[in-house]
């Protein structure tokens, strides 16, 4: 039951997340660019990330829509969420010379700490879905109701 719920709900949650975050950046690309330039990494990298991040997010969302590409998309989502979580952790641990504002993300009202815990939760859910997906399904009379 939990397995079916997870496999059914988490891809939907991730599609919503990546479509929302990706298109929020695309619809206001200049704003996203300015925000990246205010982050503590080199400006040439920020210039590349301005286009790369929304492209990756929307590609993952598109791949999650199709059965054949859902599994690699879940791995890619885990990778992207992990990278962002590590970046936030580095900020929170003061690895950089200053703490940039967290105002550029899709959830602009959240602090870095809140971003961190949400990312941990989403990464955990995505990994759980991958694990459930890799296990063989056990026939159940409820299967046809949930899928």
């Amino acid at each position: 039951m939990l397995r079916k719920l997870t496999i059914g709900l988490v891809p939907g949650l991730l599609v919503l997340l990546f479509v929302y975050t990706g298109f929020t950046k695309v619809f206001a690309l200049q704003h996203f660019r300015d925000t990246l330039y205010n982050q503590p990494f080199p400006h040439p990298l920020a210039a590349v990330l301005t286009y790369l991040i929304p492209t990756i997010e929307l590609s993952i969302a598109a791949a999650l829509l199709f059965n054949r590409t859902r599994k690699p998309a879940l791995y890619a989502a885990t990778g992207l969420l992990t990278l962002f979580t590590l970046y936030i952790a580095a900020i929170l641990l003061h690895f950089f010379r200053r703490v940039p504002c967290s105002c550029g993300g899709a959830f602009r009202g959240l602090s870095w700490a809140q971003h961190f815990w949400i990312n941990i939760l989403l990464t955990g859910l995505t990994i759980t879905t991958i694990i459930f997906n890799s296990k063989k399904s056990i026939p159940s009379p409820l299967n046809h109701l949930l899928l």
Binding site: G12, V15, D34, H43
Partner: protein, 107 residues
């Protein structure tokens, strides 16, 4: 393809459009980059920041009352100098120079 995922994607696009950041004219400001300090940092002098609705004491500080106000910085904003280069608020030294060339060494 699962139709409910496609429906969720459409909802996501609509939500992103509704919640997209509004381009604000104060997001990026130009500041005059005059010359380098001896420690290699740049010196800037500000425009009339009140004319662009900056908040005194938060976004800017006036070094010489009602004449030249120099940049203090709102970290929520990105900034460019007149050469088009972005700079961080923390890069701006606590010093400035007014348009007559008088240098102010800190606040």
């Amino acid at each position: 393809m699962k139709k409910y995922l496609l429906l969720i994607a459409i909802v996501g696009i609509a939500t992103a459009w509704i919640n997209k950041p509004v381009s604000h004219p104060l997001t990026v400001h130009n500041y005059s980059f005059t010359h380098y300090n001896t420690d290699g940092t740049r010196m800037y002098f500000g425009k009339d920041l009140t004319a662009i609705n900056y908040i005194k004491g938060f976004d800017y500080i006036c070094l010489s009352a009602n004449t030249i106000c120099t940049f203090m910085g709102n970290t929520a904003n990105a900034h460019t100098d007149l050469t088009g280069n972005y700079f961080y608020t923390s890069d701006v030294p606590p010093a400035g120079i007014d348009d007559s060339g008088i240098y102010y060494d800190g606040f």
